[in-house]
Point group: C2
Chain length 444, copies 2
């Protein structure tokens, strides 16, 4: 263990860099300044860059023609620490207990991006140079949805041009198990707004002769699936790329167990599309979920009305090669076909983004695997994740480059929750991983 | 038009006797005192009676053996007048415009119960006696659910014993059309509480592998009806008494038109059980309604969660001879059979009461029809109503007597709303109706 590197992490974690809270604007600035200084100390040419919102910090080695350019992305902003009373120690006074360091931002994302920065410093100190061109981009607005990232990339497109991006901001399946996330699900959101009578009606006076919008929204939602959990929207699966044999085989041997999912969710039992495993259903099969449903009386007890309207907020998780706009269109047509008599339904589209997948056996994919293999014991796990990481698509859209997701977050790291922590083993592992990754890319 | 009778109505309507608002406790008392005095002035033996809540006013003529005893029920409490700004004139400063008097409580129920009291006074003045024994009971808690009525009846069961009860607190189909309501629907309420995961889950991370309680509640609700609006709960219709031929014929000729229902509800079209008319569906067929449905994110935009739970508040309007407890039991069994995998459902029973129906061709029913025929031009309309009036069942349970519902409320009377009004023609008609009713009962 390198005490100086540990001290650096402690110093970084002391900044309450909460991007969403304007009272912390000064802390954001101070944190960015500190990071710029740290990058410079490691031997990078580092600058604070204005974005229109919280500043970004950009650091580079000397870029030379004839070798690949790697962008390393991270974020120095953190989630708010509330509720404070649930923390065992103050969130911005880092505490080490056993192999873990506890502080807001420890895993998400300061510990992980600082490991990369210090890895660059180690390599520069040891070899006098890096094996590739590197641009480190650490932004300050990830926790508020990166509102200025696309604009910043666009405005500095030539300067930030790169061949591949490396991000450590995802999960590791188990301690010591290097994990390469090569795919993410996309998303398409829409809200159904069902309208019936022009006001809430007395269900005694009018019940039986007008359609009830709450019943109607339920009938439409019920029509989205068959009884076996398969989505019943006509054409929904037409463009779904089947899971490949190697994926099914590889995932079957991973330490992803139904019992663990049951424990994490507290659900009475697992339920999903027949014919697929827990991991397959979460990582590589599309879904239709109701994120919110409502209509009529919401208070205690009863109020015997026929509500004037009801809604369902739907989101569809997408997989390659589904197109979000096409899916929303299929859903709209399905809803039109399944709208009961006596009501009208409007489909209001929400945000969307396609699924992301890269070939883990591509050159960069193999480099990522090699780096993980050299850093951690055993074969790296090749997984996809069920969520969506919008920045990955932003990078693809603006810079045209794939992203290597090499996560160092452990399942019990408590990101976004009290007592967030980061494994020191993974912190020092992350420093090694950075050096291995750049070497592997250079060798590729 | 009798100016003294009109002045009495104006005086009665000036009391802001809002039972739900403790700031009006003094007004309630003053209103009850005024009414007691008015009953005494008409020649009744009248008393303020404590009930445990707002007092009731009870007035009687001299009861003699050998003739029927008729209870006349009404209430002197009124709904709150809010929102005040929507009133064209202050709600407790009665205003006459054309044939209508505008004030809170004008139709519901002061105008209607005062008409009965003044009818008794006219008859006593003209004939020196009433043709039957009469007990007038005007309570002060109807608008808050009559919490002390059953106890008051029970405690004074012998004193209040009667053969039949007359209530003017329902609707008249059209101006000048005497309307006898001989049936009401019952009700049975239950709330479905669907539980899945122990907390809201990230729909990206876990979507596809756990059941979604909002989807589950929608599937259960959707299972309650078939596509033609018929209730699909096994056994639900087993005890439903069929509509009688004379009812279907009589109702078909009433001025109850689908166009009017469309106008009143603002629904895009009418929808209900196939094979029945608008009136039949509202008055004499049972329903399954969702009064409220909810679960997950309720705010603007989207939040991509799988909710931990969802609910549906259900109410079933019942008709003779359905038993509320049996219906709730059938529903619970139906829900058990239709609960999707991966969730648990609890059925929490709510309030309930059976349907009410009396034979309009019984002796009292014929007397009611005769009185309406003598008071208004033309044949009275014989109808049922779709709502439930709990006091009717309370009277049946405690006193064992049927209730004659002889409503004087016009469709545009705005009860419970701003600009409540009462037709003066119906006010003076109500005075005549009272005298005709007592004579018809005595003659029966």
């Amino acid at each position: 263990m390198n005490q100086a590197q540990l001290d650096d992490l402690i110093a970084y974690l002391r900044f309450p860099s909460v991007s969403t809270d304007s009272r912390h604007a000064g802390d954001m600035k101070a944190c960015a300044d500190w990071l710029r200084g740290k990058m410079a100390e490691q031997g990078l040419d580092a600058e604070i860059r204005e974005t229109g919102g919280h500043p970004a910090v950009v650091g580079k080695n000397e870029h030379r023609a004839g070798r690949p350019t790697v962008m390393i992305y991270g974020h120095y902003d953190v989630q708010p620490a509330d509720p404070l009373e649930l923390w065992a120690s103050p969130p911005f006074e880092p505490r080490i207990d056993g192999d873990k360091i506890y502080a807001r931002g420890a895993t998400d994302n300061k510990g992980q991006n600082l490991a990369h920065v210090l890895g660059l410093g180690e390599e520069l100190a040891a070899a006098g140079d890096l094996p590739v061109n590197v641009t480190v981009l650490v932004e300050g607005e990830e926790e508020i949805g990166s509102p200025n990232l696309a604009g910043f990339l666009e405005a500095n497109k030539e300067e930030l041009a790169c061949d591949v991006i490396a991000v450590s901001d995802t999960g590791m399946l188990a301690p010591g198990m290097g994990t390469f996330t090569y795919g993410l699900r996309g998303i398409a959101c829409t809200e159904l707004r069902v309208k019936g009578p022009s006001m809430d009606l007395h269900s005694g006076v009018f019940g039986g002769t007008v359609a009830n919008p709450a019943t109607a929204v339920a009938r439409i939602v019920a029509s989205l699936h068959d009884g076996e959990g398969r989505i019943a929207v006509e054409g929904f699966y037409d463009k779904v790329a089947p899971l490949q044999d190697w994926e099914r085989e590889a995932w079957a041997s991973l330490p992803v167990h139904e019992a663990e999912t049951l424990g994490l969710t507290g659900a009475p039992e697992l339920f999903g599309e027949a014919g697929f495993s827990d991991a397959e259903r979460r990582w590589a099969r599309p879904t239709a979920e109701v994120n919110g449903i409502g209509g009529g009386y919401q208070g205690e007890g009863s109020k015997t009305v026929i509500p004037a309207e009801a809604f369902a907020k739907l989101s569809f998780r997408l997989v390659p090669d589904q197109d979000p706009a096409e899916v929303i269109d299929l859903v709209r047509r399905h809803v039109e076909r399944h709208t009961p008599a006596g009501v009208t339904v409007e489909c209001v589209p929400g945000h969307s983004g396609p699924a992301y997948v890269m070939d883990p056996q591509s050159g960069y994919g193999k480099a990522a695997q090699a780096a993980l293999r050299a850093t951690f014991s055993g074969e790296p796990a090749l997984i996809r994740e069920g969520g969506s990481i919008p920045i990955v698509q932003t990078f693809k859209d603006v810079l045209g480059a794939d992203t290597l997701l090499l996560g160092l977050a452990l399942p019990d790291c408590q990101i976004h929750a009290p007592n967030e922590n980061f494994s020191l083993e993974n912190y020092f592992g992350g420093i090694r991983l950075n050096r291995e990754l750049l070497r592997a890319i250079a060798a590729g």
